[in-house]
């Protein structure tokens, strides 16, 4: 017999989606499960990428920052930096800028003198130079930074966390804090300095005031320096001997951007965890689709029997349900990609990060949805195809 039973691809597509069109609410709810799972996966990848992009940008900006700090002696006491250290470091040719801070020991910072001295809020008092904002790329959030008057008068600039701890969110002429037995006028608040978290928790005063009121003696405890980005390692190698030729091992030379690298690595670990959770959500959604498809096969036994009587092959019936399952998942996947991108955009905007969605995320999302849909439809499709046509027609 030369005549063949044949189903055109366009017809296969049409009957593969007929169930979705006929049962819209059910199809929408089933697709919603996939949409949520795919949205979660895309959003996890997108938010991670946006955050990573922001950290990489920061790494690019802060990668050439080095610090030299006092080390500790065997009995735990800090060793002072030589007073000549900053000038010596500034002479290293690739060094572009330097700034120093000096730690004022045993000075507490409180909102008023009524606050018990024990409530330090973990705020340190640091003597700082006018070059600090430029060297650390620190932004003044409110007010202004320490200027020439601050060398004479008790003025302070608070780090971001210090201002928060003290409950200072606006500045006026009367905004003062109580530092080591004396009121200082708060003239500015700095934004977060990601590479120098010690600045965030500090109240900055000028070296002049620190010398006069707290007897600091102009001794710095930490020097920050910007270097030619191509010479960072070379400069780091000579920093110790340059800053303290007599005791180079007493100094700690650090690259603060290492903290950003560590944060990048930590984010990678979390992304893996959340992707795993997203995959579980996708699996659950796939089981939901399989469940709906099994019900669909049971409900449509008569249609299956009719199609077999009209000449449909087993594979045509299987294709009908496989296509329906895959279409359900792909529609859900497409919606999920849209939702995931939207969620990423909102999250990036709220966090102040640049919007970055990896190109492979939507493609992988769609492929994952298709795979889950095909797997979920496999069993119901096989069951439908194996249904004896005479039995199927005896349904009613």
């Amino acid at each position: 017999m030369t005549l063949r039973s044949r189903l055109r691809p366009a017809d296969a597509m049409s009957i593969g989606t007929v169930g979705l069109r006929a049962r819209r609410v059910r199809a929408t709810l089933s697709a919603l499960g996939i949409a949520i799972a795919i949205a979660a996966l895309v959003a996890v990848l997108g938010v991670a990428e946006s955050s990573k992009r922001q950290l990489l940008d920061e790494l690019g900006r802060q990668g050439n920052l080095l610090t030299v700090a006092t080390g500790q002696t065997f009995d735990g006491r800090p060793t002072p930096l030589p007073t000549t250290a900053q000038a010596m470091i500034a002479r290293i040719p690739p060094v572009l800028a330097t700034t120093a801070v000096g730690n004022v020991e045993d000075a507490t910072v409180r909102r008023t003198d009524r606050i018990p001295p024990q409530n330090t809020n973990g705020i340190n008092v640091l003597a700082a130079q006018p070059s600090l904002p430029a060297t650390l790329s620190a932004r003044v959030l409110r007010g202004s930074y320490l200027g020439p008057p601050a060398e004479q008068y008790p003025e302070t600039v608070l780090g971001y966390s210090a201002a928060q701890s003290l409950g200072i969110d606006r500045l006026d002429a009367q905004t003062q804090v109580f530092i080591a037995g004396r009121y200082f006028t708060v003239i500015g608040v700095l934004d977060r300095v990601s590479v120098a978290p010690e600045i965030d928790t500090a109240a900055l005063v000028s070296f002049g005031v620190a010398d006069r009121l707290f007897g600091l003696g102009g001794v710095p405890t930490r020097i920050y320096l910007r270097v030619d980005p191509d010479q960072v390692a070379a400069v780091a190698a000579v920093l110790g001997p340059t800053a303290s030729p007599g005791n180079p091992r007493d100094l700690m030379v650090q690259r603060p951007s290492d903290v950003i690298l560590a944060r990048l690595q930590a984010k990678g670990a979390f992304v893996g965890l959340f992707l795993g959770l997203g995959a579980i959500a996708l699996l659950v959604a796939g089981v939901g689709i399989a469940n709906i498809m099994v019900i669909s096969v049971l409900e449509r036994r008569a249609e299956i029997g009719l199609r077999r009587a009209l000449g449909a092959r087993r594979r045509d019936v299987a294709a009908q349900f496989l296509l329906e399952s895959a279409a359900l998942a792909v529609i859900g996947g497409a919606a999920g990609i849209g939702l995931g991108c939207l969620a990423t955009a909102v999250a990036a905007r709220l966090a102040g990060n640049p919007l970055a969605i990896p190109a492979e995320a939507p493609l992988a999302g769609l492929a994952a949805a298709l795979l889950v849909g095909a797997l979920a439809g496999l069993y119901p499709a096989t069951r439908a195809a194996r249904l004896p046509p005479a039995d199927a027609l005896r349904t009613l």
Binding site: M1, R4, S5, A10, R307, L310, G311
Partner: protein, 226 residues
């Protein structure tokens, strides 16, 4: 007169747990253009015989020849092709798809021949005209009366001009007037052999030949029409 359907020594015993013998040693030849009524009590094997004639079920023993070709060794795709090209079915429950128009329901009857949609619709429109539903093409099945639905189902079965039309209680869900209309319509289909299962003696009498089944065996055959 050439044979459209030939059954030789056909038996059908279902697998356990039922293990019912539905047909035993059935020999039957239906000629081209012949109209045959199969009657019998419930459980006599009428529907099983119709399923075997329509290749929806395979016999346990015996041979089934359709349009001269033995179907017993055919694969599933080959049997599907036989149904798509040579056999039309009419069911008691109509089995029209609610979400399609009447025209598309009828056109579905030709879908598995691989025919383009536009050609299918042309054939379907002609078939609907033959059954008197030319003015109902765009309606949904739910908008038709019972008699009209069965006429649409007949149009679907005959749209491809099959050699054999198998009808399982086609008037079972209809009132007498509509039932008569359907029988008249079926009896006037030219070039198509009709095998019709019915409980209704009047409907059976309208066919050229009457066959009675009891316990899976042919107990009466009025003889082939001459």
């Amino acid at each position: 007169m050439t044979a459209a359907l030939e059954l030789h020594g056909v038996a059908k015993t279902y697998r356990p747990p039922t293990a019912v013998t539905a047909l035993s040693d059935v020999d039957l030849t239906v000629h081209r253009g012949e109209t045959v009524a199969i009657t019998g009590a419930s459980g006599a094997g009428k529907s099983t015989l119709l399923s075997i004639l329509g290749t929806l079920e395979r016999p346990t023993a015996g041979t089934v020849r359709i349009a001269g070709t033995d179907t017993s060794t055919m694969s599933d795709p080959q049997l599907s092709a036989v149904r798509a090209w040579h056999i039309g079915f009419v069911f008691q429950q109509f089995f029209l798809l609610d979400h399609l128009t009447v025209l598309d329901n009828v056109a579905t009857g030709l879908m598995y021949r691989g025919m383009p949609a536009a050609t299918r619709r042309e054939h379907a429109a002609r078939a609907l005209e033959r059954v008197g539903l030319a003015d109902r093409l765009r309606h949904r099945p739910a908008q038709l009366s019972g008699g009209e639905r069965q006429r649409a189902a007949i149009a679907r079965a005959v749209a491809g001009r099959p050699a054999v039309l198998l009808a399982d209680e086609p008037t079972g869900n209809l009132d007498t007037a509509n039932g008569h209309q359907i029988v008249r319509l079926l009896a006037t289909l030219e070039d198509t052999s009709l095998v019709l299962v019915t409980h209704n003696a009047e409907v059976a009498a309208a066919m050229q030949r009457q066959i009675q089944l009891r316990d899976g065996r042919i107990v009466h055959d009025s003889g082939a029409a001459t």
